[in-house]
């Protein structure tokens, strides 16, 4: 049995036996959706439909329907891409890095955080594909033998690194998630009655791959989880580093900086944890998981947000310092223009939402409040979106020739696609919350005795 210090607060509240955990995890799958679920689902579905129409119009007409112009030739699409990829990072951090660090509190949130990762990467991957203009030729990015005169991709290009990084990240995340899901699907399968719901029983029987929980299987399961965590950890850091190299390997002032990889990875974790909080605070209400996703989990995540937010702030200031210290006029102008040029308001939103408001988490009553955390997590989501917007648009809109200087304003379609992906993300997440075991119950049962409140208070 695993031991834990008695002074630590319990991670599972209430009197929970193994069977209670089984019931609580299976309840959303077996029961009917409540009112909140339907309201959220309908809203998300409307946004999703708007997104589908916008994407269809873009593909049918061409990307000229976006607000892009000759100078600002990358804007919302790449902003949204980086934003979504960044959000995905927290899921892998929770499931892999915290596993390696043996952080037990990850167990009631890792399943949902990984689901969030997968759904966020799906949204992110949409943007480069739409931006290709001819998405039916998207397979050109893969190294497949072809008839176009042995035309291969250029392995020196960061865009191709991105293709490899994101497809590896996506598929490894899905596998990691599924390996953990197999025992939990088996639990649901064994609860389903073959006479009352034969279809469901068959579905979960199919999904659970015939898992039965033999000792040898568990032994392999634990080792495979550990090795996958070990592989996913450098993977997650590589993905956002490579995304940042899309910018850092170019010669645009404001992009051409060596600080980008660590700065982007930190920003990704920062925004990802904020999105995990936004989702989990909603989810614990919608599927009644108040005993498992506790104020302790929120507090721990807030501490990570405080840390990464402060590091991101340090990176902003380092960037400003380096642009001055470099002595390069263009660099200096790029950063001065960010803070005081026509997009000063975007820079101000970025600074206040990412650097200032997370500092409120130094106060214990704020970082242990669900309401405050929910509001501040939305702030971080907004701030991190603006960070990418500031980096991308302000660096481009003042081109090398003043005659080509211009501004960017999004079109109706730009907005539609962005909100559409938010809708799509929530549609996927809400469906997940009704079909999948939302808590890694097999793992969670291993800590009931060391960290359940009933057992803690007995001692």
């Amino acid at each position: 049995m695993q031991k834990e210090a008695t002074i630590r607060d319990p991670l599972i509240l209430g009197k929970k036996s193994y069977h209670d955990i089984t019931k609580d995890v299976a309840r959303p799958v077996e029961g009917k959706a409540n009112k909140y679920w339907w309201i959220l689902f309908s809203l998300s579905f409307v946004l999703f439909l708007w997104g589908v129409l916008s994407i269809a119009y873009t593909v049918g007409t061409g990307i000229g329907v976006w607000g892009l112009n000759k100078t600002v030739n990358w804007a919302w699409d790449i902003t949204n891409f980086v934003w979504w990829i960044g959000i995905g990072h927290a899921g892998t951090l929770i499931s892999a890095v915290l596993l390696l660090f043996r952080q037990k509190w990850r167990m009631s949130i890792n399943r949902s955080a990984e689901a969030m990762t997968i759904f966020a990467v799906v949204q992110a991957a949409l943007f480069p594909i739409i931006h290709m203009g001819r998405p039916w030729l998207a397979y050109y990015v893969f190294p497949i033998p072809n008839q176009f005169g042995s035309l291969w991709m250029n392995f020196n290009s960061p865009l191709i690194w991105d293709v490899f990084a994101i497809s590896t990240y996506f598929s490894v995340s899905v596998v990691f998630w599924y390996i953990g899901l197999i025992p939990d699907f088996a639990m649901i399968r064994d609860r389903m009655s073959a006479t009352i719901s034969p279809m469901k029983k068959q579905l979960y029987s199919f999904l659970s791959f015939g898992w039965s929980g033999k000792a040898k299987h568990w032994q392999r399961f634990e080792e495979v989880s550990l090795v996958l965590a070990g592989l996913a950890t450098p993977l997650v850091f590589s993905v956002h580093s490579i995304v940042s190299m899309d910018f850092a390997t170019s010669i645009i002032p404001g992009w051409h900086t060596t600080i980008f990889p660590p700065y982007f990875v930190l920003g990704a974790l920062f925004s990802g944890f904020a999105m995990v909080e936004t989702l989990l605070i909603i989810m614990r209400k919608v599927v009644n998981l108040e005993s498992y996703i506790t104020v302790k989990h929120i507090e721990y995540m807030n501490i990570i947000i405080l840390l990464t937010g402060s590091l991101v702030g340090t990176a902003y200031i380092t960037e400003l310092f380096m642009s001055w210290y470099s002595g390069v006029e263009f660099e200096q102008y790029a950063f001065l223009n960010r803070a005081t040029g026509p997009y000063w308001w975007a820079y101000a939103i970025m600074m206040s939402c990412n650097v200032l408001t997370p500092q409120l988490y130094w106060i214990k009553s704020i970082r242990t409040s669900f309401v405050a955390t929910f509001i501040l997590s939305i702030f971080v989501n907004i701030g991190m979106w603006f960070e990418r917007f500031v980096i991308i648009v302000t660096s481009l809109h003042r081109d090398f020739l003043p005659s080509s200087w211009s501004m960017f304003s999004p079109s109706f379609i730009d907005i539609g696609i962005y909100l559409g992906t938010i809708g799509f993300f929530f549609v996927l997440f809400l469906l997940y919350a009704r079909v999948f075991p939302v808590i890694a119950q097999a793992e969670l049962k291993t800590i009931v005795k060391s960290s359940g409140s009933e057992y803690k208070n007995k001692k």
Binding site: F164, P183, S212, G213, K216
Partner: protein
């Protein structure tokens, strides 16, 4: 003489663990243990060998690195060499820093996926496979020990009962 299978069902993993140790010290072979979650120390108590999953992953990773290098070498050096931005591109080793990201991703891709496939294959898990657990409650909150005996089983049942089994079932073949 007929072969019987005895199922000892336990409610608690610590009781199960001490029972496993007791039974094995009496030189009785345990056929299988089913549990709802990984029980810490159970593999050692049962005398299971260490799993070699991590080793397979390392081998697959090396394979991925090799295949990735060969792929890039063939595409960038052999089949269609290109001068890209005047960067040194005449040999593979001159150009390898730019290939590191893709080589790394190939390594991880192979290591993770092939290990997972090996894991599923070795465990006999695949879509449509049927669970062979003798009791459906073993994925919920019960721990089940399966022992095959030839002839008289009363001694084993006695030990099981003494070490805290909550239920003891028997199946004839």
């Amino acid at each position: 003489m007929s072969t019987n299978t005895i199922y000892g069902i336990f409610d608690d993993e610590e009781v199960l663990l001490s029972s496993v140790k007791e039974i094995r010290s009496n030189n009785i072979e345990i056929k299988e243990v089913y549990s709802p979650f990984p029980v810490h120390g159970l593999d050692k108590a049962l005398g299971l060998k260490e799993t070699r999953m991590a080793i397979t992953s390392f081998i697959y990773g090396c394979l991925g690195l090799t295949l990735g290098s060969l792929m890039i070498y063939y595409m960038m050096q052999v089949d269609w060499p290109q001068n890209i931005g005047g960067k040194p591109n005449w040999t593979f080793y001159h150009n390898v820093p730019a290939f590191v990201p893709v080589l790394f991703e190939c390594t991880v891709l192979f290591a993770a996926h092939l290990m997972s496939i090996t894991y599923l294959f070795r465990n006999g898990l695949f879509p449509g496979a049927k669970s062979d657990s003798p009791d459906e409650r073993t994925t919920d909150d019960k721990f089940l020990m399966e022992i095959e005996v030839e002839g008289d089983a009363s001694a084993i049942k006695e030990i099981l009962k003494k070490t805290g089994a909550s239920e003891i079932n028997e199946k004839d073949f």
